[in-house]
């Protein structure tokens, strides 16, 4: 089935077509989610929400862009929403801890990678520093950077996903690289 047939079949509720789409785009979606949350468990959770959204909104796909572009767009939005929700949750939690003096921590995964057990187990402080540097990038720079470096998308493809011009993506990527280099250099100086 080609993309058009696949999406038409999903629009009619064809589960076999949906399974085919999931199998085709599973790695793309999971890897993109992982590039934002840096955690396999969360990435799978978000990716499942992405496919549920694809199934429920298949009728909204007009075929004006490539199917993969549409799926990338949903994936990026879901990942960013997840990060925002967890930031809010962490904020409320820290306020609660300050007010009620509890030291319980339900989820600190987005605050400090160095404190996370999986990163401690790997003893990979440098990987943690890299992720923190990526996460510190402004949102649009981070989207462009992640799609380019983790997903190997061209600037043209990123421009389609982000609905920007290619020159805007070039500018975002240039600034992202400069900012990332600055953060990594600061880490490098601290280590030495």
């Amino acid at each position: 089935m080609d993309e058009e047939q696949l999406i038409q079949a999903i629009q009619t509720g064809d589960e076999r077509a949906f399974k085919e789409l999931v199998e085709k785009y599973q790695l793309l979606v999971v890897n993109t989610c992982k590039s934002f949350v840096h955690n396999m468990h969360d990435a799978e959770d978000i990716s499942q929400d992405v496919f549920i959204e694809v199934f429920n909104s298949a009728h909204k796909f007009r075929g004006e862009s490539k199917l993969s572009t549409w799926i990338y767009r949903i994936t990026v939005n879901k990942s960013l929403n997840f990060i925002r929700d967890h930031k809010k949750q962490s904020l409320f939690q820290s306020i609660g801890n300050t007010l009620f003096g509890t030291s319980q921590s339900l989820d600190v995964r987005l605050n400090s990678y160095a404190d996370r057990p999986d990163f401690q187990a790997e003893n990979n402080e440098r990987k943690a520093n890299l992720y923190q540097a990526i996460d510190a990038l402004p949102e649009r720079q981070r989207i462009a950077f992640n799609l380019n470096k983790f997903e190997d998308l061209s600037y043209r493809e990123i421009a389609d996903v982000m609905q920007l011009s290619v020159s805007s993506v070039e500018s975002l990527m240039h600034r992202a690289k400069l900012n990332l280099q600055k953060s990594l250099y600061a880490c490098y100086k601290n280590e030495n």
Binding site: K34, Q48, R126, K149, F150, Q181, L184, Y188
Partner: protein, 140 residues
């Protein structure tokens, strides 16, 4: 180019996206600048980490887990819909009751002015209006 200017271009140098003359200057600088050379190695390692983080094979049980989540979502959707119905009906009931009370207050036929007149009527003092002497005289 100064040391700092070169250092700021290392990320572009590693991607070979600089003009030829700048690339040559940086190559020459790297030969004798240990700091820039080590930082470039560090950048290369960090970017290699990004590549190594990618999943390369699909999980065969992914679709099964996805279907289970979809069914769970559908059930939750039904539950939340029934809760929403209860909430909507409760709100409508509250509005209806308070609307009834308001209508009753604003459009009641019992006028407050009439109530004053009634109270005046109730307080009518017959003795004051018609003294007993007058009454007796009339009786005669």
């Amino acid at each position: 180019m100064k040391h700092q200017q070169i250092r700021d271009k290392l990320i572009f140098f590693r991607e070979q996206s600089l003009p030829e003359n700048e690339t040559r200057i940086i190559q020459e600088h790297l030969v004798h600048c240990k700091e820039c050379s080590l930082f470039l190695d560090r950048l290369n390692e960090d970017f290699a980490t990004i590549q190594s983080e990618k999943l390369v094979s699909a999980d065969p049980f992914y679709y099964t887990r996805l279907k289970a989540k979809m069914e769970q979502h559908e059930q939750l959707g039904v539950t939340s819909r029934s809760w929403a119905q209860v909430v909507v009906f409760s709100v409508l009931l509250i509005f209806a009751i308070s609307g009834g009370i308001m209508l009753g207050k604003n459009f009641s036929t019992l006028d407050y002015q009439n109530e004053t007149v009634t109270s005046e009527l109730l307080l009518f003092d017959g003795v004051k209006q018609e003294p007993i002497e007058q009454f007796l005289l009339t009786e005669e």
